[in-house]
Symmetry: C2
Subunit: 413 residues, 2 copies
């Protein structure tokens, strides 16, 4: 007999806690939309309960949906390394990577999806399936009265044709799909209801909550960064698309003008991601003799609150991405009133207004020049940071996402 899917425990949260942060009109709109969905049995289905943006979003979104009267659950599929190595390859391929789809990979994908489809026992009014890992489940179960939504968090603008051709029939089964940005929607999606919903940050989560300045200073000082000298920070996974060496190069140029300048590169590494260890070692090698260029990871006790402190205390946030999904770290940083210099890639331009809350850049020299501009003109930096925070407040906080999701759910009924 099949065991049930694992349900994820999330904290509790109320929409009222956000009342002082977002406009009352948004709160009212959410409450109005929620009226029509009270008691709605909603399930989120995803691959993992931790690690990565999807889990982070759901940890904030599910408690709010519950607070609004929906019966919202979150379950994760049963799978193991064999399955995840296939879906990781699918993930990269859907973002455009070269990949040859084998019969074995297809079989692995379908075997695990079939098993999980059988293990989904409870009935729901609506089931939101996140990302490609569990995407075939509804088609493998067949119509059962639930509305099915595929929430794609990745950039599928130019998907690998083989993988997309394999997945497309499963996607066609859905009642609706949600993408992050219009440019991510494959041209031949073949589902009627398509919504575009940008991700959002949770201003009350440990990574974004207010922290007293003195506490930030203590956190940063304790790991060897001088809080009285200028600091620029890139928070990102250790990934070639985040151009870590380009960040170091830009810092070195800026350091000629500001000899006191410090750089912090802060990132998380996962046990199952040897690529990130390789990049990490490469960066360490690249900065080696420079005592002012720091590389910090979760292995030295840098967690969400520490990341928050870095974003608050930096004079400039850097995100020198060459390629990017949405790049929510830009909103995270701007929310702390810190201006950004960031690559013109993925969702970055919709968060960061060039010349308003920081600068969009296309290469190392521009990156260095703009960092220098912001270090020189502290008043400009402060103003840009404030404008950035205001834009994030209006567009990229969790209640806006909750509103968009409710509106889409309403449209399906």
């Amino acid at each position: 007999m099949a065991s049930m899917l694992h349900e994820v425990e999330v904290g509790s949260q109320s929409l009222a806690s956000y009342a002082s942060l977002v406009d009352q009109a948004l709160i009212d709109e959410i409450l109005e939309l929620a009226k029509g969905l009270k008691g709605c049995r909603l399930l989120h289905l995803s691959a993992t309960s931790y690690g990565g943006g999807v889990a982070e979003l759901l940890r904030s979104e599910v408690p709010l949906q519950r607070d609004l009267g929906l019966h919202a659950d979150w379950k994760v599929i049963h799978a193991d390394e064999k399955f995840f190595s296939v879906t990781k390859a699918f993930h990269n391929a859907l973002q455009g990577a070269e990949y040859t789809l084998t019969e074995e990979a297809k079989e692995t994908y379908l075997t695990y999806n079939t098993r999980n489809a059988q293990q989904l026992e409870e009935a729901y009014d609506c089931i939101i399936v996140h990302d490609p890992q569990p995407a075939a489940i509804p088609a493998l179960r067949g119509k059962d009265g639930s509305k099915w939504v595929w929430r794609c968090h990745i950039d599928t603008s130019y998907p690998n044709p083989q993988v997309w051709a394999f997945l497309k029939p499963f996607i066609a089964f859905y009642d609706g799909v949600i993408f992050t940005m219009g440019q991510f929607v494959p041209s031949d999606i073949g589902v009627r209801e398509v919504a575009l919903i940008a991700p959002a940050i949770d201003p009350l989560a440990p990574k974004n909550m207010d922290i007293p300045l003195e506490m930030c200073r203590r956190i940063i000082n304790s790991i060897g960064v001088d809080v009285d000298r200028p600091l620029i920070t890139q928070v990102s996974r250790f990934d070639p698309w985040k151009d870590p060496c380009g960040v170091v190069d830009a810092y070195r140029i800026a350091k000629k003008e500001f000899p006191d300048l410090q750089l912090a590169m802060v990132g998380s590494m996962a046990l199952d991601d040897p690529e990130s260890w390789r990049i990490y070692s490469m960066i360490r090698e690249y900065v080696q003799d420079d005592k002012d260029a720091h590389v910090f990871t979760n292995f030295i006790g840098v967690g969400n609150v520490e990341v928050n402190a870095f974003q608050r205390l930096s004079q400039v946030g850097v995100q020198k991405s060459i390629r990017e999904g949405f790049g929510l770290v830009v909103s995270e940083t701007l929310w702390k009133g810190t201006p950004m210099v960031a690559g013109r890639a993925g969702g970055i331009p919709i968060q960061l207004e060039d010349g308003v809350s920081g600068y969009l850049i296309d290469n190392v020299e521009q990156c260095a020049d703009r960092i220098i501009d912001l270090l020189k003109d502290r008043d400009l930096a402060r103003k840009m940071g404030e404008r950035g925070r205001e834009k994030v407040r209006r567009e990229f906080l969790m209640p806006r996402l909750v509103r968009d999701k409710l509106a889409f759910l309403r449209s399906l009924h």
Copy 2:
């Protein structure tokens, strides 16, 4: 030509910042001792700049020694996986593990120590060498006018005879040695000056600093723990000697009496420690279906501040060690006013007074009974927590360690 050893950057700190936390007499004593050491060129030599207790201690100790007028540096040796796999085996063997010392291991150890001995260029009045990894350096350099101190942080009460016989001649070269506790000193140490200095916690570091209660609640809530229900926490590496399954067993017994009870097991994992991943998976397997038994790691953004929040919000701290070095987590927890139930092992009994600031236990049943006692009697728990904090304040805060170290350095001159 040999490159120089890598110098570690640490933050800045002043003894004055601790004035409101420790007795004035201790501050005065430290200032008096420091007078005789002004300008003293002191070097700490260790294996790594992050990860583990030694690095954590030095990040707090070195800034204070600088504040007191010593010229204190901290350098780490150059080495790689080949060397560290040998020294890790030495480490375990010195703590009593079975091990067959090979000629190859000896050669690796000596080759790296010789190379690092050559790379140590600057002159120092005193060099404190931490743990076994760089321990042969002074003997390999020969007498040079420096005072050499070996600071052994590990439990060498019953060292593996082969490894100890190999290292002993190198240790005999030292002017002084420091152990954590009397019972850790090998009976045939053969060095005249032996000091016993217990480790200490830094009350101003992110892991121990005061955090507003509301912020703690937000941190804990955000990862799915209900802050309004009772919580017990064990913070420890994932290691069989910490008896993680015993902790779960004790929790299950206590949960029969307190059905609302939650357990958090919080630990860090290192990339280079596959044993810890194995134990982690084993614990996950062991608690699987219990939504109230959580296992949290650095891989989900749990850093030092998050650990701090767990220790503050728990009704009872647990450290069910079967074997322990010093077990400084006991002081960390007591410092937050949280009573402890902990195994009678290593340095735990000198931090935790049985029946005063918690309970020493020898098995699962005792552990469960004592947890239940503390959950039942909140007033007792509060009092025990207060007494624990006061003992830590008097004996296990960083200034006490700084005083002991200065006193020992004075005694060598």
